[in-house]
């Protein structure tokens, strides 16, 4: 299975204030929503006026399967819902079409993790009044799965053999092989269910011309009233929404455009909006705004996003077409002294200062020690002491002891090999600051560091020699995150997944890391069905990546970083799904 992860786009980072604990709520249960108990009594449908949402990127299309960004998936989510949502604790919650979350325990998931049976809620209706059937779900799947549709959510259908309507309200999903990530298709932003009637004539290549792309009929709490692509979406209450008491707001105005800083002003200073998305503003500007605000507050939550440094195990400077091929070995990161040099680098990594100065001291990011983070049962504690021990002198001594002697130019060398590092990342103010800080410390320890920054569009491709996939540098830095089930994410460091010329750099192991023990753990993880044993395996895999210094995690970043009106209630952020995943519960 391909490396299936989302990459938190980090065009600039941010520094924000507000505490953000993991809001613990319902687990795998059939509770209608995280705040169901509290809010059900708190309001009646349509009690409120207009809810104003501001995104500094404007929605351009409302079919979630043609979304070109978060702005599109989020704005479509008000109307088009998946079977279930990813809740705050990274478990699916049945706040959408599914009656309950299928599990092994309730028989919804087969013991071998190959079939998942979803039951729809009773009496579900589309906003046009017609009945929602399992056929709509099967249709949506085949629409996305069809390569001719060119759906942007197609990746989640990979490895899914079929989605079949067993009866009017039962859908059976079958994977090609046992899949521990059995909620891969059906839950979250990947999988908004479209109405068959609306899209039946627009399958395959015709999908892009479907009128429903601009005005999809859905099952969500709201229906699209007007949509001006690149500007604004207005919604009214879906009269056929399943919960007679929800939603609270009569209308929603989803405005797009502008920039993050003035969005923050609208949320904190003028109170013109109720919800302002992704406030990527430097701390110096944002912090005073939040502190002095009587109108708004920050809403943040951690998911699995980690800003990390990757170490190259192959030789990026190998001659000819051998650059970065797995057959080559990095001159000092891979070999007899490899672990010592890697450890020295990790030891001289000052993640606390990065988190403090560039991520607002634990507000849009906190020091990160693990690559698997955000889910308590998977979070390892074995790495903490290693990551707390920032010590440049100790790093220098370690290299000294291993025979890497300081040359006249201040660079350590051994046997004619100098510790020269080329360090690449994307063009982004926070990343360039981080690079500069790393360079200072690493050079004190005796490395020579050259910095390189590449535009994000070029960096995140498999086609550019300057890209993360080719990894033709010694180390590189970016943010990535995991599905709630980390199997496919961790699979990205197995030998089979090594990115190289022969696979057109399409696989996830950019490090070219190869470790039989790690591969074995991942193989076990694919088969293991016992939750406790799975957790142990995940932690083991995580610890290998950290302690063998394949990656150096720097900062765990917030997934939601939005400003909300002080009067807005019922908003429970999740780090695993659209920020709009439970908008039916919002009220004032």
């Amino acid at each position: 299975m391909r490396w299936r992860t989302t990459l938190a786009v980090s065009f600039s980072a941010v520094i924000l204030a507000s505490a953000c604990a993991q809001p613990g709520t319902t687990g795998t249960s059939s509770a209608p929503s995280p705040s169901a108990a509290g809010s059900a009594a708190a309001f009646k449908r349509g009690d409120g006026g207009e809810l104003k949402i501001l995104y500094w990127q404007a929605p351009t299309i409302l079919n979630p399967h043609q979304a070109t960004g978060t702005k599109d998936s989020d704005s479509s989510r008000l109307a088009v819902e998946p079977l279930a949502s990813w809740g705050p604790d990274a478990k699916p919650i049945a706040n959408a079409l599914a009656k309950e979350i299928p599990t092994v325990a309730n028989g919804g998931v087969s013991a071998d993790f190959t079939t998942v049976t979803w039951k729809l809620k009773d009496g579900l209706k589309w906003s046009d009044g017609s009945a929602v059937t399992a056929d709509d779900v099967a249709f949506t799947f085949s629409l996305i799965k069809d390569p001719a549709s060119a759906a942007t959510t197609e990746d989640n259908t990979e490895g899914v053999k079929s989605v079949v309507a067993k009866d009017a309200s039962t859908v059976v999903l079958t994977y090609d092989a046992p899949n521990p990530n059995f909620y891969q298709w059906g839950v979250g932003t990947c999988c908004g269910i479209l109405q068959k009637k609306q899209f039946a004539d627009f399958t395959g290549a015709k999908l892009k011309d479907a009128p429903g792309n601009l005005k999809p009929i859905g099952t969500g709490p709201y229906q699209v009233d007007t949509f001006k692509p690149g500007d604004v979406v207005t919604y009214t209450i879906n009269p056929n929404f399943r919960d007679p008491n929800k939603p609270f707001f009569k209308t929603v105005n989803f405005k797009g455009g502008g920039d993050a800083e003035s969005s923050a002003r609208a949320a904190f200073q003028t109170g013109d909006v109720d919800y302002a998305w992704n406030l990527q503003v430097t701390a110096g500007v944002l912090k005073p705004m939040i502190d002095s605000s009587t109108k708004g507050k920050m809403l943040t939550v951690y998911g699995s996003s980690v800003e990390r440094i990757l170490i190259n195990f192959s030789d990026p400077n190998a001659p000819g077409d051998q650059r970065g091929e797995p057959t080559t070995k990095h001159p000092f990161f891979n070999g007899a002294d490899g672990l010592t040099v890697r450890k020295a680098l990790a030891l001289a990594t000052d993640r606390k200062t990065v988190a403090q100065q560039f991520y607002g001291n634990g507000l849009s990011g906190k020091p990160g020690c693990n690559i698997i983070t955000g889910i308590p049962e998977f979070e390892s504690t074995a790495t903490q002491s290693f990551c707390d021990s920032f010590d440049v002198t100790a790093a220098a001594k370690m290299l000294d002891d291993a025979g890497w002697k300081l040359g006249a130019d201040g660079v350590r060398a051994k046997g004619g090999v100098k510790l020269n590092i080329l360090y690449q990342t994307t063009v982004n103010a926070v990343r360039q600051n981080t690079q500069a800080l790393m360079k200072t410390n690493w050079e004190k320890a005796g490395f020579k560091v050259e910095l390189k920054s590449v535009p994000a569009g070029t960096f995140f491709t498999n086609t550019s020699p300057d890209g993360a996939n080719h990894f033709w540098s010694d180390i590189e830095m970016f943010t990535n995150n995991s599905d709630p089930d980390p199997t496919s994410y961790l699979n990205g460091w197995t030998t089979k997944q090594i990115a190289q010329k022969s696979n057109n750099w399409q696989t996830g192991n950019y490090n070219r890391y190869s470790n039989a023990e790690f591969d074995g753990i991942i193989d076990q993880l694919r088969k293991e069905t016992d939750p406790a044993k799975r957790a142990t395996l995940v932690k083991k895999a995580n610890d290998i990546l950290i302690l063998d210094v394949v990656i150096i995690p720097i900062v765990t970043r917030t997934q939601v970083t939005s400003g909300i009106s002080s009067t807005l209630k019922g908003v429970v952020p999740t780090g695993w799904d659209s920020e709009m995943y439970a908008i039916q519960d919002w009220y004032k």
């Binding site: 391909r2 490396w3 299936r4 992860t5 989302t6 990459l7 786009v9 501001l54 404007a58 351009t60 299309i61 043609q66 070109t68 960004g69 390569p147 001719a148 060119a150 759906a151 942007t152 959510t153 197609e154 990746d155 989640n156 990947c190 290549a205 892009k208 011309d209 479907a210 792309n213 601009l214 007007t226 001006k228 692509p229 690149g230 500007d231 604004v232 207005t234 105005n253 405005k255 455009g257 502008g258 920039d259 003035s262 002003r265 609208a266 200073q269 003028t270 013109d272 909006v273 994000a456 569009g457 070029t458 960096f459 995140f460 491709t461 498999n462 086609t463 990535n480 057109n504 399409q506």
Partner: protein
């Protein structure tokens, strides 16, 4: 005159074809890629991107795409946006009213204010008013709109809370209150743009008036015993306005092009905002359509300016 206009219109056709080719070629050769926004998103892996590229018809070489585009254009079809898959004409149609309501109104206000200001400045040269107007004009065209825009937002939206700075394009004017809301939300962008327009045109009017005031025909008019008012308004102003009218006519296409910076700051969903976002997204059909419409307007208003010149100035004859 009729023959002249006909000839100019005929010349305009190849001009516009050449412009369309250049515009399309530049866009095709530019490094922006409509799929670049997927770059940072591994949920859309390379093979899915390749399919999207195919679906958008981007696999054809660009000269072929150009020919397809021009032939669709000849049938009046501007194509569909890569981003929203909706018709480019619809997108422009949704935005034109906002641009006219803000940029257009600002231009009209600018012209209405500028001519009297320029005139009085010239007649009362070096008076207090002239000094004031000159200072104002220099401020008007030296201070960039992104600065005045932010200044107005901080003073009037954030400190005084008088006006909103998020333009609501869904507002419909049906009574006095909604009209007041419209005035409130557009007054700041209009002020920013009108300041610039007024400054430019007022300086121009002043310079033209000063050139004409010492001329012989003005002395003749005065010596005939005409009142100063008549001399200034009927003789000097009319003659001075000829180049000003040309300038104003040539500025009209720019109104349709929108105001990129100002629209962005105040979130006015106008043509300028659409243009700049589409360039960033590599949304070629939208960019090409806007630039082409803009080119047609420039050619057209050049012709209108020339014709107006002849109408206003009897000494000029086109044959």
């Amino acid at each position: 005159m009729g023959r002249y206009i006909a000839r100019r219109l005929l010349i305009a056709i190849p001009t516009i074809i050449v412009i369309s080719f250049v515009v399309y070629a530049i866009l095709a050769l530019a490094p922006t890629d409509p799929l670049s926004q997927f770059g940072a998103d591994p949920r859309v892996p390379p093979e899915v991107r390749a399919r999207i590229r195919e679906a958008l018809g981007l696999n054809d070489p660009w000269p072929i795409r150009y020919v397809k585009w021009v032939s669709a254009l000849a049938r009046g079809d501007f194509g569909t946006s890569f981003m929203s898959h909706s018709s480019v004409m619809d997108l422009i149609g949704q935005r034109l009213p906002n641009t006219l309501a803000v940029v257009g109104v600002a231009y009209v206000i600018g012209v209405i204010l500028a001519v009297p200001i320029g005139m009085i400045s010239a007649v009362r040269r070096y008076s207090f008013f002239d000094h004031f107007a000159t200072t104002f004009a220099f401020v008007g065209f030296s201070v960039p709109t992104f600065f005045t825009g932010l200044l107005l937002i901080i003073v009037f939206s954030i400190n005084l809370r008088w006006f909103p700075f998020i333009y609501d394009s869904t507002l419909q004017i049906h009574d006095v209150n909604s009209f007041i809301d419209q005035v409130k939300q557009s007054i700041m962008p209009i002020t920013v743009l009108a300041l610039f327009d007024t400054a430019t045109i007022a300086r121009y009017t002043r310079a033209e008036m000063l050139e004409h005031l010492p001329l012989d025909y003005v002395r003749t008019a005065r010596s005939k015993g005409l009142r100063e008012q008549v001399v200034v308004l009927r003789h000097v102003l009319r003659n001075s306005l000829i180049p000003v009218v040309t300038l104003v006519a040539l500025g009209v296409p720019a109104v349709f092009g929108g105001a990129i910076v100002t629209e962005q700051i105040f979130r006015v969903p106008g043509i300028g905002e659409l243009l700049v976002r589409s360039i960033g997204d590599g949304d070629t059909p939208v960019v090409a359509a806007i630039l082409l419409i803009f080119a047609v307007l420039v050619v057209l208003f050049n012709l209108i300016a020339d014709v107006l010149y002849a109408v206003l100035d009897p000494r000029i004859k086109y044959t």
